[in-house]
């Protein structure tokens, strides 16, 4: 497959279109089939109870990935982003008291921007 692609890679536009088609499938399969499967059947109660804890676990894992894990090689770096750690705490406090998504996000962005200049 890669051999075939390398032959058409000389034409960049065609190569990019092929990449987009593959990317589209990679994005489509995990999105569509589970939701299709579970929305056309009766969902067992225990499954719903389990799924109730998915969002909070997933969001935590993603935040941890963004702050503590490097994008290249996936190494654990606890002190690489002190600015982001402090800003994360600020966002938590602001989200807790204001309950407003926009204020929290803007405060986080401003916070990390200022801390980035200081630290």
């Amino acid at each position: 497959m890669d051999f075939l692609v390398s032959r058409i890679a000389s034409n960049q536009i065609v190569y990019h279109i092929v990449v987009i088609i593959f990317a589209a499938f990679a994005a489509f399969i995990p999105r569509y089939f589970p939701i299709h499967f579970f929305s056309s059947r009766k969902i067992p109660e225990w499954f719903n109870e389990w799924m109730k804890y998915v969002p909070i676990s997933l969001f935590t894992a993603l935040v941890i990935k963004n702050i503590f894990i490097t994008t290249k090689g996936y190494h654990f770096v606890p002190y690489d982003h002190p600015d982001q750690i402090i800003a994360a705490v600020i966002v938590m406090i602001i989200a807790y008291f204001t309950r407003s998504m926009s204020i929290s996000v803007i405060a986080g962005l401003v916070g990390v921007w200022l801390l980035n200049m200081v630290l």
Binding site: I20, Y96, S100
Partner: protein, 293 residues
Amino acid sequence: MAKAQQINPEKARWLEVLGIAMPLCLSYVPIGVACGILLHAAGFNFIMTLIVSIVVFSGGAQFILASLLTIHAPLSSIFVTLFFLELRYALLGSSLSKYIKSESQHFIWLFAVSMNDENYAVNYLKFATDKKWKPKDALLVEHYSLLSWSVSNMVGGLIGSTISINLEVVDFALTALFIYMIVMQMRSHLTLIICLLSAVLAIFFMVITHSIIGVVIATLIASFVGFLIENTVRNHSKKPDDNWFLTKLFRPRATRITVEDQRAEEEEVLEEKEEQQKEQSTDSHLPESKQHD
């Protein structure tokens, strides 16, 4: 509220939903532009950037796609990396499916292709806290965010190399959004424990697998442990809601009440009425004082 009525005097639903989606759409603009700039640097022209932002519609996946293209990674590894990265949507889709069960196949298809982390978070929160939230509104949120995301991407692709940005700062918008979502869903001691567990597991599995699949594994395990603990408590405790795991954390008064809270409250009122009736008929014991939070 008065201000909201001025802007939207006829209470058009699409405007109301737009108001709910607005913070999300705005936070997409800087990240979308950044992503467009990266894809431009990877060799995509702005039309390609627009198309890829519509069909992939995922910040993380597009950032990685750009970096894979710049290092001339083979197509097979691009596909596999993206596939694992997107695998978490299988969980998101499964957890939303109970809310859109009654919809047509066409609707489910449309809903699935334009779902991503952020609009899922908004929709999950709305489905859980707002009884009037309809699948149609959820789809509208998805489309607003898709529009904002793809236009921002295209703008990024067009301005290309003319400006430089600090990617780390821009990327933090998504982190902040997720932190907000976590705080909003923090309800009981158990959720706090699951949060910490998921954090530890995420680090562990990402380090040993060297890939994003660690996030999926950590999520599956942590959420399952949450389900197991809750289930055990409910089966073995006489008063499950008073158990330490399920007692609510202190929350400020502005906290939204979830649909489940409302249901629990209604049940409580019903129980109280029954109790009162019993007391009136038997007149045997003093009314128990019930604590409300």
